[in-house]
């Protein structure tokens, strides 16, 4: 009897905990969206931000966020996938593998501000680039790599061994097997992981504060020459991203509509991350269905 009561109480407690977490999320989301969504307008997304006057938008910040994300993923995905291949297929148990694993764990748990400081030291000061998109992207790469490696490794390991063995038994060499058999089947897992990691990169601010800077030069969106200073595609220009913008307007903003800008930007940031999540789920299951031909 006594243990039955305890069982019921415990169940109640667990249900309460789960409810609390759901409520916290609902609270957070509705707060962000109720305050932010009314601020979002076509105007808000398509005008440049103003440092003084009311009514500034976030066009450049939004573009910067996506562009930095794109550059980061361009560097991280190949590195991460190949690192994952190494860990899953080539690494022999031993000291070196152990050491690499420690390195990955360390990179994963580095405070983002430490990554930012390292970026400031290397990509900003030593190279003489100053605050640049590429510096920010490289800093983001540092803490995105462990995520990508882990995701790829897991995806590769979860490919059924029979597939690999069948390929090897046909006399196909290891690398070729990886390219033609293992990676294609691991692809949905890697893709889902990459999109989820994008969400994290998209919202990162502390590491970018010291590497990509707090300002954006005047951009001319008709200029597609990546080497021109006014081109949005130039990777050697400073770029304030959306999350840095939220922090900066909260900290130094002197425009009268600081709150509105912060609210609107937060909502857009959260909606973007939501979008990444949904895409990850959708793409993951779609690709999975296509590859495995199951319904």
């Amino acid at each position: 009897m006594n243990s039955k009561v305890a069982d019921r109480i415990a169940t109640g407690v667990f249900i309460a905990i789960a409810t609390i977490i759901v409520l916290v999320l609902i609270g957070l989301f509705s707060f962000i969206l109720f305050r932010g969504v009314p601020q979002i307008s076509w105007d808000f997304i398509t005008t440049t931000s103003s440092t003084v006057r009311e009514g500034g938008g976030i066009r450049d910040q939004l573009f910067n966020s996506f562009y930095i994300l794109f550059i980061t993923m361009l560097i991280t995905v190949p590195l991460g996938v190949l690192g994952g291949v190494y860990m899953a297929e080539y690494a022999k148990p031993g000291k070196i593998t152990n050491f690499i694993r420690s390195c990955i764990e360390l990179l994963a748990s580095l405070p983002s501000i430490v990554v930012g400081m390292f970026g400031l030291l290397i990509f900003v000061n030593s190279t003489g680039w100053g605050y640049t998109i590429i510096g920010g992207a490289l800093a983001l790469t540092i803490f995105n790599i462990p995520v990508m490696v882990r995701v790829s490794e897991d995806a590769i390991r979860s490919v059924p061994n029979v597939q690999k063995e069948a390929s090897l038994a046909l006399g196909i060499n290891h690398w070729h097997t990886i390219k033609t058999v293992i990676l294609p089947s691991a692809f949905p897992g890697i893709l889902t992981g990459a999109i989820l990691a994008s969400g994290r990169v998209f919202g990162e601010a502390a590491a970018l504060l010291f590497t990509a800077g707090l300002s954006t030069p005047r951009l001319d969106y008709m200029n597609w020459n990546p080497f021109s200073t006014t081109s949005p595609l130039n990777i050697f220009r400073p770029a304030e991203t959306l999350s840095v913008h939220i922090w900066a307007v909260n900290t130094n903003g002197i425009m009268p509509d600081v709150e509105a800008i912060a609210d609107g930007s937060s909502a857009i940031l959260v909606l973007s991350v939501l979008f990444f999540n949904l895409t990850a789920r959708f793409v993951g299951s779609a690709v999975h269905r296509k590859i495995t031909a199951s319904k």
């Binding site: 243990s3 667990f14 690192g83 748990s109 006399g171 690398w175 033609t180 919202g203």
Partner: protein, 308 residues
Amino acid sequence: MEKQTTLSAKQRLIRSSSKNPGETRGKILVSLCALIIIIATLSITLFLAIKGLQSFIVNGLNPLEFLFSSEWNPTSSDPQYGALPFILGSLAVTLLSALIAGPLGIGCAIFMTEISTSIGKKVLQPVIELLVGIPSVVYGFIGLTVLVPFIRNTFSGSATGFSLLTGTIVLSVMILPTVTTIATDAMSSLPNSLREGSLALGATRWQTIKKVLIPAALPSLMTAIVLGMARAFGEALAVQMVIGNVRDLPGSLLDPSATLTTIITLNMGYTTYGSVDNNTLWSMGLILLIISFIFILIIRYLSARRKI
């Protein structure tokens, strides 16, 4: 890739059984990536160590005073650099938020794996993934606009609402998804025979959870908490917005406080490269790095003890 798959099996056999040029190239390529990861880690450690030690080597500060003195007065005529309040502040918010997020996260994991798997999959899983996705600046922003006024109006002990408690709550919510995800993985990887055996002996579900499942998963659950702590420890902007950034040692939960990360972000831009003030900030960065190392060591120790 497409071209090669159209080759006949015989051709492929011949190709791959020859000298295997692709194999070597592939091996080099992946090893290169592994090497880049090692180089990145080593260079971060090295550069931060060099830069972080400068305040002691070049500026001649006493490392013991830096670590254990609570006097921080970089601008006075007789400057003092004691980072103890910030180190303790960092540790305090980290431990306190682990105290809140740990039980909540593990409880949520148990709910998802033991009590209602279907609700867990359909409701909680997406909820947790969304929580992971909310950027930390947004957490800080909400903390500032909601939590700070709430604390100020609720507790008479906190005049401003900026306090250790506020920072702790914001961080707890932030690390909750991390703890929950890893704890869920740990619980669901437990073999079903454990549950069935215990239930067959007549134990209730709670007894099974408490006496069998939690002890079996304990090292992994601890890992979940430690990883959450690592994230809390390194968080900068969200904490800076709500904690008050005071250099005194906090006397209670309702006192404002400061952490290593908040002091770094607050002062980095104002100080000139190579000055003592600037170098001490790098030393704090080094401390952050060292404590990350310690977290990794704890996790390694825990995973070595993993029973299943």
